[in-house]
């Protein structure tokens, strides 16, 4: 089961604070959408509104074309995977996973079978009789996922589900989450503040800031062709050079007016957009690349971050003639 979600001009006010400011978003059925942004950007508020844990001050939410106004969380075709798992500690894994089915009146034998199937889906086959406290954090999160998917929701909401896991486990779980989503075909709406996680799993990333959508698109597009300065900065490191009338601190540049944004890895000695000679101020070896701080001779106060090839070993103080292969110019 899967369904699309329409969010139409949703505004959420808490007293005088504006948590969401006229958000419009169309999510297609079966899509894996990630709501990405810093804390306080409204992403969790939006998730709560889709899940029915909060009613928007104004605007509408439609799931599968059905208006959700006044529909309680328990009656929505959505389920949620919570950051702290929120498993029922007094129940076995089978009872946890079967809980939603029990609420829908399914007989015990049938729901135990379904629970076993769901536990197998998340790689926990044969542990049906265990209790949550016997599991590790990653395993608990898998149970939470199995529990939320067992009722075959149209839309699965994930509220920073990997936030409590350590980095290595988080990366492993991302791949798995993506694979499971492909398998079940349910619409996933996933909230995170980790842009690497967002890029690893999303079909589409929705970058949010200050209660508004700052950018939206597939990972490649949001990273390489951001539509706002906020989005450019949030998705990764970026060098920003203001350009007015074809002139900049680096000298004349053949780009439109605005802020020239260049990713560190887009700068090299062969780049097409010439940035001019730059002095190497500092280098750090990062394994897959060499990170260097350089300052253009034309503008010694300006510092650019450049990712050079792993094998590069420029002397400190040496001068490199650099150019950018790829860049965007955004409105300031």
């Amino acid at each position: 089961m899967t369904a699309g979600v329409s969010i139409r001009a949703v505004t959420q006010r808490y007293g005088s604070a504006l948590a969401l400011d006229g958000v419009d978003l169309e999510i297609t059925a079966g899509e894996f959408v990630v709501l990405l942004g810093p804390s306080g950007c409204g992403k969790t508020t939006l998730l709560n509104i889709i899940g029915g844990f909060a009613e928007p001050t104004s605007g509408a939410v439609l799931i599968g074309g059905r208006d959700m106004a006044g529909v309680a969380a328990k009656d929505r075709p959505t389920t949620t995977v919570f950051q702290d798992y929120a498993l029922f500690p007094h129940m076995t894994l089978a009872e946890n996973v079967g809980f939603g089915l029990r609420m829908r009146g399914m007989a015990k034998a049938a729901r135990d079978a379904k629970a076993a199937e769901m536990l197998a889906l998340v790689g926990l086959e044969g542990r049906a009789a265990r209790r949550p406290h016997e599991l590790s954090g990653g395993q608990r999160q898998r149970v939470a996922l199995a529990r939320a998917l067992a009722v075959e929701p149209d839309v699965l909401l994930l509220d920073e589900p990997l936030g409590a896991l350590d980095l290595k486990l988080r990366r492993a779980m991302q791949d798995e989450l993506k694979a499971i989503q492909r398998r079940v075909g349910t619409t996933f709406v996933h909230v995170t503040h980790d842009q690497e996680e967002a890029m690893a799993i999303a079909d589409r990333i929705v970058v949010m800031n200050g209660g508004k959508i700052a950018d939206i698109g597939p990972p490649r597009e949001v990273y390489l062709r951001p539509k706002s300065l906020f989005s450019a900065g949030f998705m990764g490191e970026v060098n920003k050079v203001p350009v007015v009338g074809g002139k900049s601190a680096l000298g004349p540049l053949a780009v439109p007016d605005g802020v020239l944004c260049i990713r560190p890895e887009a700068i090299s000695e062969s780049g097409a957009l010439r940035l001019g000679p730059c002095r190497v101020e500092e280098t750090t070896f990062f394994g897959t690349y060499l990170r260097a701080h350089v300052s253009p001779l034309a503008a010694p106060d300006l510092r650019l971050v450049v990712h050079l090839a792993q094998g590069a070993a420029p002397e400190l103080g040496s001068v490199l003639d650099l150019g950018a292969q790829d860049f965007v110019v955004l409105e300031a």
């Binding site: 969380a73 328990k74 009656d75 959505t78 389920t79 702290d84 929120a86 029922f88 829908r104 529990r147």
Partner: protein, 256 residues
Amino acid sequence: MRALSWAYLAIAYAFVFLPVAVLVAFSFQDGRLPVPPFQGVTLDWYAKVLGDRDLMAALVNSALVAAVSSLIALILGFLAAHALARVRLPGSVLLRGVLIAPMTVSYLIIALGLLTVFNQTGVRLSLWTAGIGHVVINLPLCFAITYAAMGDHQKNAERAARDLGAPEWKVLALVSAPMLAAPLAAAFFLSVTFSWDEFIIAFLLTRFDVTLPVEIWSMLRSGISPATNAVGSLVFLVSVTLVVVLEVFVFRRAKT
């Protein structure tokens, strides 16, 4: 210094337990009076007590009143605690205070107040009225214990249950209450022990059927005998058993 602290410990425990030890010891007195000298061991008094119809009836009454009133106090206290912990109500601090307030009122005042109310409204005194009195004294206790135990942990699990389609009463019955099993059991057993021992309220609010402490009191009016010690020992045994059950099955499990 070390010896002194051991001595202090011994004296402190003796102070607390000597009266109980003497009571229990003289319940085995082979003689007419439960006072020294100790004249030998007999179980006659226990036989007499256990064969006494009125006493046994009072014992059953006490157990019933304790169990039913504690259960009601527990349910009401749990529901109130859940509501005040989960829902933002205007004046919830005041509501909480008012719920706990009866703890500070003496049992005598509560009993007299209830007696007046029952007389005015024409409710006849019975085990039920005594039970109502015990609900009044145990409700604040049950409320305070369960309220203190409620945390975000349960709150999130409750949210998950709702998200999975559970109506509110099932959230309470299948998630909130089982997650609070230990504090709920603690509140229940404490209520039972308080109700089991309680005299003033039971004395003022019962008439023909009475609870055990009231029955013992009427035994005492006809003079002391080792039989009263035997009853006292039995009451003490029940209380101790409850506390041990609580310790072993509730508190110890809650720690693991």
